[in-house]
Symmetry: C2
Subunit: 518 residues, 2 copies
Amino acid sequence: MKKNETIKEIRQQIPQKSLSSFTLKVKRIGIDTKKHLVIYMREDCALCKSEGFRSEARIQISLGERWIIATLNVVTSEILKNHEIGFSESAWVKLGVRVGDEVIVSHANPLDSFGYVRAKLYGKPLARSGFKNIMKDMMEGRYSDIQLSSFITACVDLSQKEMIALTKTMSETGRQLKWGHKHIVDKHCVGGLPGNRTSMLVVPILAAQGLIIPKTSSRAITSPSGTADTMEVLAPVTLSMEAMKRVVEKEGGCLVWGGSVDLSPIDDVLVQVERALDLDSSKQLVASVLSKKIAAGSTDVVIDMPIGPTAKVRSKKEAQFLSSLFLNVAKAFDLNLTIVVTDGRQPVGRGIGPVLEARDVLSVLRGDEDAPQDLRERGLFLAAKIMGSCKGHTPQAALLEAKRILDDGRALKKFEAICEAQGGMRELHFASFKYVVTAKCEGVVKNIDNRLIARIAKLSGAPDSPSAGVDLHTPLGAHVGKGQPLFTIYATSAGELDHALYYFEAHQEVIKIREGSL
Amino acid sequence: MKKNETIKEIRQQIPQKSLSSFTLKVKRIGIDTKKHLVIYMREDCALCKSEGFRSEARIQISLGERWIIATLNVVTSEILKNHEIGFSESAWVKLGVRVGDEVIVSHANPLDSFGYVRAKLYGKPLARSGFKNIMKDMMEGRYSDIQLSSFITACVDLSQKEMIALTKTMSETGRQLKWGHKHIVDKHCVGGLPGNRTSMLVVPILAAQGLIIPKTSSRAITSPSGTADTMEVLAPVTLSMEAMKRVVEKEGGCLVWGGSVDLSPIDDVLVQVERALDLDSSKQLVASVLSKKIAAGSTDVVIDMPIGPTAKVRSKKEAQFLSSLFLNVAKAFDLNLTIVVTDGRQPVGRGIGPVLEARDVLSVLRGDEDAPQDLRERGLFLAAKIMGSCKGHTPQAALLEAKRILDDGRALKKFEAICEAQGGMRELHFASFKYVVTAKCEGVVKNIDNRLIARIAKLSGAPDSPSAGVDLHTPLGAHVGKGQPLFTIYATSAGELDHALYYFEAHQEVIKIREGSL
């Protein structure tokens, strides 16, 4: 090489290998990294060496017009061959590659919108433009988990103006529904009480009454069942937006899984990190709930807020604070919001787990004599609240109307019609393994731990095994004799049953009995 | 199974498989996840099923008395066999497992100390007890990256009291040195200017003068060389604490890599996430720097703070703010701290990259006629500042004394003695590929971009190839003729040279020339 050659000359001497001409063959290596997108490249890969890619770098992988941003893990073993690039399950699905595809890899562009997060940390409030830029990048998957974590942490403290801007921006990240009706009603329960499946009563009662209630629900995340899981044992819930609209237009209501209808989809991205941080931010909770309601085109919403020592909201003071946040934001969107504070000291109904909960709901709809009265009362109460808030009924008249619709079978008929419209009603199948936990002494049930009982139901296999779970026989205040059944654990395998029992052995405080005879 | 059997009876019927008796055989699967500890388990593994482990769960892996906390990735392919558990490189090293070992896996305990982070977010200042609990858990690897990110984000805003508590707690996470001398001196440069290797001049000058300067330095993280990298081409730098102490006791000074001596080791954990966030928190910078100095037993410290548009500190205002933070915290620890604001508009010396920088340092120490004067002046200036701050010399007398020590060869002799004491002085080997970039026009050099020139040096292979890098021929203000050499790129392979050139082609603004003849 001579001195003072021009760059052009040099580049003609060295074989052309401009970065954009390097491609790598995709390989699905079967590692599940959840929503986190991870890419695996060999340490001795020409691109790693030339681009200076290191583990944990954020890189862009392109296939034609499509691309994703992922985190790199460098591989030093033979799980990848030369010229191969490994995809985690999430990255494989997200980029939509197929065996044989070749992709182009480059450094991800700097994340300019993170500048708004930095500015917020240094005292500059986040405005609409900041949230818009941030959420655009988030929707494109440009934020790594630690950047998401930093955003969420920075947003624990939001002014009312910021909360409104965040809610509006979140509501615009997916579809935004418009309906040709004056009232679109909805309900949402803050912080899951096990068994609290009131939506499955409220929707048919209100739809039978003539209201429009396009209800979307979530699946279980850390709980033994979400409303979508419980509904799914009775009817399909994974409906497209168009299918959901057809159901609602035909029946006035639906009970579908929110994950398939693209309402405020950014919420899923944030919730995942919030959960891992266990960062219970009231302000983000409000933005999360209301952004979905606003995107769904709701006009009248009732929020069920259970209070109890093992519920999400633990005191009246907490409930007041959270309520004021909800009401202030709702006002900015002309949303007619009603907060209903309920008893959160114990599970609702008897069953915990999809099939057992669905059985309780059906039993209330059918008017069975032994139907769980607490579930029935809550369902009626919430339905009446919504009716009162948008139909102008007095509380008594609304409750009477809701009872009539439930008791004369119109609610059951509507529920069956909704199930049919969503794809056909299904029969319940119960678990074959069960074990009855009995009282060790005579006394009164004085405490039930919502979290522990949910954990036992989960360990027994719920919701992955829909028929697994727990049936609670003795609510708070019940008198029990020694040896009397307290709850039954259901499972679909002896191993899972054993596992739930093993956990119960170590956590017998799940049900506390104050000893003493009648 | 009959109803009402006791739990004991059931557990005798079902084969015993209490979780603690499950073990899995370790497998090193050769995935580099950097400091992030990752564990891979099969989806159909009995433990995943029974424990309900999911991807991204935090789990504890135990081998005898030792244990680590890691993030789980569930594997759905055949890269793991049944009863195997895969380890990322970092997890393998951290737990210290060997082929054939069997480990026990369980859920990680909840991270109680994160409660302090949550409380901080809700307005409660962090006190010593909070920082202590948090850092104990961090040192045990209990914090995931997103939890670290949340902590770092929450700590962007710290009061002076909190900064002092953080600094103290960090300084106690590793060793704390005590020396039997009145003055232990040190220096630190905030925000790397390429080529700014003044430590390699300051240490021998001050040690030759009789002061004690146990200097630890970092390796390059994102730059083409750290002082430890540059020093390493001349002598070993990975010394144990004991070996470092022996060098200092013999020669009065040392130039070792900080990573091996366990001073404020928590800093490495935090820096990794701060870098990924690119969150430039002055308060954490101060705690990071001072915690190391305090742990090292320093009494008198000079901070070199270069200001320039492409340096870390960009304005006088920023420098004033950062200086006041440094001084306030130092005061709480009775640390005699001097801030020296220097010119940060261009690289220091000529070479950028380990070998080229070491050549510059030696050339100054040897008093070569063409030695880079800017490097010499800075070294003398900083050495004099420290001398003045603890020996009571006037600025003029201190500078004169420093010059004498450098010019009469005592500094060179001391440097060679330190190299010998650290394990033996090494010879420099230069790169075989080079390319000279020349001026396209006649004019005056009016701008040099520190970041871009560092990037070119990095792409040429520095610091992994120690002899790679850039030699800058024309500082700011130099008159150049058309075709005159501006800088030379060195590399150890044609590919890397080409790669650096490719980058330069796209970023010719690295050196700006104001056109015009003399």
